[in-house]
């Protein structure tokens, strides 16, 4: 029996059916990881400017206390995940795409896990105007938990300026091994649906979809049960076939509404707002239970882990602590990946902390290296699987030639780096890696260009100012000369005489 029909779905181009490898981690219920001795909280756990610490070394903090506040237009606050003492604010190894270390606030936990007293409990959200609810969400430190970690409040504030039609809750966890959203939907369906209702209220919408992949029957039943209980006819459950990468934001919109997000645009351009189910549950926790984002559900799995499972873990717990909790590594553990096998990042130390973005810790026995790279034979397999309908072979061609204009016209910036082309390439060309490098290269060049342009403007402004000053000086001099000439030689003689007299008197 299927609780949700698969109906009027749009078609996704390309994609792959991958071996899921999820059953190992979903066999058990979510386990709660105890508070570790030390928490490491990076100040940049979101897209945008890093938050600024508002606590000092030696200060005692309580669980849920604000320790870094957003600085700049785009950002999210960071809260202490448990009570304890700040012992350091220093660079620490983290998992991120560029660079190895990032500034982190290190808390030595006192084990009491004492919660901060809230100054005042705000009234129920449905009695508040939508914009007040949005401001509340801003203070919860909530970011997109699907992996992009875009500050949720800013995403919502941008969305309310658009003409919205649907809220889409993303329960499509298409990447192999990762099962944290699946586990969350099974056990916290009530929170997810409650969060969806908060979002509908805040966005003044009356239509929302909860989209789940068809290979997650338990999650579908759990959500369907809660929906039947609350009987909110604004929310509809949809199931989609499990094809990687249907969980990508733009891909999901296309799958559910049959509308294509324009190149360089956002789902809001076609009237959709997509939120991950984990983010939705976090919004519920903050608005209803007044608990900021200080913990998340993370999958720890792979054949290098003794007991794969899903964990409810405090943000800032190090990977080493988490691995200890699940019984340590197996003898075969060789590679540590933060995130999934397709889009994750390999790290070289397990000192890295769990951050808001960490949806999976994957420990594998061997490097899934594909084989030696061979020349492109232009078979076109990559174009057939590309979910954004790009031509990876052409992009690769122009990336090798470093032809920026051509590679842009072939849509490099639309590449979502899903890695499908890598998998099907018979020549084992690391296409996604090459595209990522090309993107970084062009971003750097654009930065350089912007810097040069600013320098040019400042240089010109300075020259203009110096010219003006010079002209003012010249004008003043010629004015004095003119006055003197007009006064005639007698007046000049009189002035000189007066000066001489003054000197003589001295």
């Amino acid at each position: 029996m299927s609780a949700a029909p698969t109906y009027d779905l749009g078609k996704l181009h390309g994609g792959l059916r991958l071996q899921a490898n999820k059953s190992a981690s979903t066999a058990q219920a979510i386990h709660k990881v105890p508070v570790p001795a030390q928490l490491v909280l990076p100040i940049a756990q979101h897209v945008g400017d890093p938050a600024q610490p508002v606590v000092g070394i030696g200060e005692r903090v309580l669980k849920g206390q604000l320790i870094a506040e957003p600085d700049g237009a785009l950002g999210a606050p960071v809260h202490a995940s448990s009570s304890g003492k700040i012992v350091a604010i220093e660079p620490w190894p983290v998992s991120r795409r560029y660079g190895e270390n990032a500034p982190c606030i290190v808390i030595e936990c006192d084990g009491e896990d004492r919660h901060i007293e809230r100054a005042e409990i705000p009234p129920a959200y449905d009695t508040l105007p939508p914009d007040v609810v949005l401001t509340q969400i801003l203070q919860g430190g909530i970011v997109g938990l699907g992996g992009a970690v875009f500050p949720t409040a800013q995403k919502l504030m941008q969305a309310v300026t658009c003409e919205l039609k649907y809220l889409i809750l993303n329960g499509v966890e298409c990447e192999p091994y990762i099962s944290c959203d699946d586990a969350l939907m099974r056990e916290y369906a009530r929170e997810i649906v409650g969060g969806a209702q908060i979002l509908l209220h805040a966005l003044e919408l009356d239509s929302g979809y909860i989209v789940v992949e068809s290979d997650k029957p338990e999650a579908i039943h759990a959500i369907a049960d809660v929906l039947a209980e609350v009987s909110d006819d604004r929310l509809v459950l949809k199931q989609v076939p499990s094809i990687y990468p249907s969980g990508g934001e733009d891909q999901l919109v296309q799958l559910v509404t049959n509308l294509e997000v324009p190149s360089g645009g956002l789902p809001t351009d076609v009237g959709c707002l997509v939120q991950n189910v984990g983010t939705t549950a976090a919004i519920y926790d903050w608005i209803i239970n007044h608990e900021p984002l200080i913990a998340r559900v993370t999958t720890i799995t792979g054949d290098g882990i003794a007991q794969p499972m899903n964990l409810d873990v405090r943000i800032g717990t190090t990977v080493a602590d988490v691995v200890n909790f699940v019984g340590g590594y197996t003898d075969r553990a060789e590679q540590l990946i933060i995130g999934g096998p397709m889009t994750g990042k390999t790290v070289t130390t397990d000192r890295v902390p769990i951050v808001k973005a960490t949806n999976c810790i994957l420990v594998l026995s061997q490097d899934p290296a594909l084989g030696p790279e061979m020349p492109c034979i232009r078979c076109g397999n990559c174009a057939a699987v590309c979910p954004v309908q790009l031509l990876p072979q052409q992009l690769f061609w122009y990336a090798c030639a470093d032809d920026e204009a051509k590679i842009r016209s072939y849509g490099l910036t639309d590449c979502i780096e899903c890695g499908c082309c890598d998998l099907v390439c018979p020549s084992h060309i690391p296409l996604t890696f090459d595209f990522r490098m090309a993107k970084a290269r062009y971003r750097e060049m654009a930065d350089e260009k912007a810097r040069a342009e600013r320098a040019r403007l400042r240089f010109e402004a300075r020259n203009e100012r110096l010219e003006k000053q010079q002209k003012a000086r010249d004008d003043e001099l010629s004015r004095q000369k003119e006055t003197a000439q007009q006064a005639g030689p007698e007046a000049i003689a009189a002035i000189l005489k007066r000066k001489q007299q003054a000197k003589d008197e001295d």
Binding site: E448, R451, A452, E453, R454, A455, R456, R458, F459, A461, R462
Partner: protein
């Protein structure tokens, strides 16, 4: 006879008009070319090319046929782009290229507040009043090094911007 003279005269007149028009349109073209060359230069305004800024160097390249390999901050990439734009041959840099994005840093404990560096900065990236400590606005510094030689107490050094 008369027809021939008139025809030749007419052709001469037309050619003259066409030439004068061409000279005018070509003049504006070269002006545009200067801007295009200027856009390829790194705008450090360091004067290492021997001209008092990037725009004057761009003008010299177009008008006085100055070599295109005089810009150390731009490096080989700039030479390559200039050669592409102007249809010239790629030549090695006359001096060693500047590596990476560097900025000037003032050792503030040693600064005597003479304002010499401030007046030398081509992009107004130095702030500080007379006899008071100066500092550099890192985000605006182009790394031209013009302030370094002006400092009487040698308290300015160049560092990587990263």
């Amino acid at each position: 006879m008369i027809t021939a003279i008139v025809t030749i005269a007419l052709i001469a007149l037309l050619a003259g008009l066409a030439l004068s028009y061409a000279s005018r349109s070509l003049a504006s073209e070269s002006d545009g070319l200067i801007e295009q060359v200027n856009a390829l230069l790194p705008q450090t305004q360091c004067a290492q090319c021997g001209y008092p800024g990037c725009r004057p160097y761009a003008a010299a390249i177009i008008e006085d046929d100055a070599p295109i390999n005089l810009c150390p901050p731009g490096g080989d990439n700039t030479v390559r782009r200039l050669a592409d734009l102007l249809g010239k041959n790629i030549v090695p840099l006359a001096e060693e290229a500047t590596h990476g994005h560097i900025v000037a840093v003032i050792d503030e404990s040693r600064c005597i507040g003479c304002t010499h560096c401030r007046t030398a900065c081509p992009v107004d990236a130095i702030v500080g009043a007379h006899q008071l400590m100066h500092t550099i606005i890192k985000s605006e510094c182009t790394g031209c090094e013009l302030c370094v030689i002006r400092c009487p107490v040698d308290c300015i050094s160049m560092q990587s911007a990263a």
